[in-house]
């Protein structure tokens, strides 16, 4: 039973100067769906999900998120971003604030929650990412894996309806990737709608409902993981999988 549509991209293009970063991309993400986007670097994966919360503006086509059409200078973009969480490759925690303040500043300043309510929510999500004891530290004192989990909690504190992950484990030391992926798997199991750009195929196999393979700004293949990993339709996807699964 497919849920309601949360993200709907219709034939969107995106240029950086003369470089076409997105080329006629169409994608639908429904409530509760877990979409994993993969592909070689420079294929436009990050650009695509950055468009989903307005960090990039697409140049052509139609993009609707939660029924709101996005375009340059959309007046509703701020409201929308509160419902679309984003986790970055470089964590982007606020270094001048403690972990707890990182988590509460959004709810307090944007959602105008009281400090007490915001801290309550923050502690709940710190529990969920398994680092309640780090609340009063500065991000710089944490390991990369812990920082990324704080970043996930920070997004969750805004109670988003969909979470975007932009290569969340690519900047991590190998031994820390697992702890972040565990949190993401738990999040997926809780029913969160997720769009994840990643090279972690083990994670994809475990949680993805839909695999999207991109190359040169185009979506080459969209298929369920069973098909994608065992018998991909496109030759390019097969080659890509061979290359990254070899190791």
């Amino acid at each position: 039973m497919p849920g309601e549509i949360i993200i709907q991209a219709d034939h969107i293009d995106k240029f950086f100067g003369t470089f076409k970063a997105l080329d006629d991309v169409s994608l639908t993400v429904r409530q509760g769906e877990r979409v994993v986007v993969c592909g070689p670097s420079g294929s436009g994966k990050s650009t695509l999900i950055r468009c989903f919360n307005g960090l990039e503006n697409h140049d052509a086509g139609r993009l609707t998120v939660e029924g709101v059409e996005l375009h340059e200078g959309s007046p509703k973009i701020r409201e929308l971003r509160q419902n679309v969480g984003m986790v970055f490759q470089q964590f982007n925690l606020f270094p001048h604030l403690t972990v707890l303040e990182n988590l509460t500043i959004g709810p307090m300043k944007v959602r105008k929650l009281s400090r007490r309510a915001a801290e309550e929510t923050a502690r709940k999500y710190l529990d969920r990412v398994h680092i309640p004891e780090q609340a009063d530290k500065k991000p710089g004192q944490l390991s990369g894996g812990q920082q990324q989990r704080v970043a996930i909690a920070r997004s969750l504190c805004m109670e988003p309806r969909v979470m975007l992950f932009d290569e969340p484990t690519s900047a991590l030391d190998p031994e820390m990737i697992g702890e972040v992926l565990d949190v993401m798997v738990e999040l997926a199991q809780s029913g969160m709608t997720m769009v994840v750009v990643t090279h972690e195929m083990g994670f994809a196999r475990k949680v993805a409902d839909t695999m999207v393979f991109m190359e040169q700004g185009r979506i080459v293949e969209t298929s369920p993981p069973e098909t994608f990993f065992t018998n991909p339709e496109s030759a390019r996807a097969r080659l890509f999988l061979d290359q990254i699964l070899e190791h």
Binding site: L55, M86, Q90, N92, F94, K109, V110, S155
Partner: protein
């Protein structure tokens, strides 16, 4: 013998001897050729003077001037910091007009001599503002009131209050351009990812600036800002041109009435040096402790 003396070589003694000879020669020339009579013993009186009839010590010309310089520097710094921060933000604004305006202001100030700027600001801006606010009358009112002492602690002689304010405004406007550049550099040193993270949790541009970018940027610019504060103290001597009663102006006055040309100017130079050098050492130490 202190350790640094042991490090001295013959060449160092030669250089020291030459320097002593040079300054001795200059002093002798002043005394001989210019027929100048050194009267250093008079200077302390113009710093701090004992008034026998009232049995009190009071600050004379030079010390009054020094106090006014300190007051003006502090107020002008605060004002320059506020204006400069606005300017720095404007320099990084998305809106082209705002950016161009800020840039124009900066380039004008950078490419016009400070003295000319001071006169222009004085006649076109601060003078109008003071007339418009009717500060003259207000200050005269305060000067006659009972709690004039508190006011004078903060602003010096109240009859001169409008002139002091004019000086503060002129100096702040002048320095704000440079403070603005420091703030801009600070803002631009904050990684783009910080802004994106702020935006992705729904912050407005204003909130992003206020809660995320500025706090980090301001921390980074403390050292250059401290240097700019010292520069401001030195620059404050320019506003003597518009008759603000600060140290340089008072020295001019003193020299005019007593002919203590060399003594007075050397004393004033020493005042500026001690203040600026002390602050500079202090900031350096604080910087190392951070």
């Amino acid at each position: 013998m202190p350790s640094f003396l042991k490090k001295l070589k013959i060449a160092d003694y030669v250089i020291a001897a030459i320097l002593v000879a040079f300054f001795g020669y200059v002093a002798l020339t002043v005394e001989g050729k210019l027929n100048y009579e050194w009267r250093w013993e008079l200077i302390p009186n113009y710093i701090l003077r004992y008034r026998e009839d009232q049995d009190v010590w009071f600050a004379n010309l030079l010390l009054q001037g020094l106090f006014n310089t300190i007051r003006i520097s502090i107020y002008a710094s605060v004002l320059a910091l506020i204006l400069g921060t606005i300017l720095g933000i404007a320099r990084t604004a998305e809106n082209l007009t705002v950016r161009m305006l800020a840039r124009t202001y900066l380039e004008l100030l950078r490419n016009i001599p400070p003295v000319v700027i001071v006169f222009i600001f004085f006649f076109f801006l601060s003078q109008q503002l003071i007339d418009w606010l009717n500060l003259d009358r207000w200050a005269r009112g305060i000067a006659r009131s009972d709690n004039v002492h508190i006011w004078e602690f903060f602003f010096g002689e109240m009859r001169r209050f409008p002139s002091l304010i004019a000086g503060v405004i002129v100096l702040a406007l002048f320095e704000s351009a440079f403070v603005g550049e420091i703030v801009r550099a600070g803002i631009q040193s904050i990684p783009q990812g910080q802004r994106e993270a702020a935006r992705s949790i729904g912050m407005s541009r204003l909130q992003e600036m206020r809660y995320i970018v500025l706090p980090q940027a301001m921390k980074k610019v403390v050292p250059p800002m401290a240097n700019q504060f010292i520069t401001l103290i030195k620059d404050s001597s320019i506003i003597s041109l518009i008759s603000v009663q600060e140290l340089t102006y008072k020295t001019v006055e003193l020299v005019a009435s007593t002919r203590l040309i060399f003594e007075a100017w050397l004393t004033t130079a020493a005042f500026y040096f001690v203040i600026c050098f002390t602050l500079s050492m202090l900031f350096r130490r604080l910087e190392r402790q951070r």
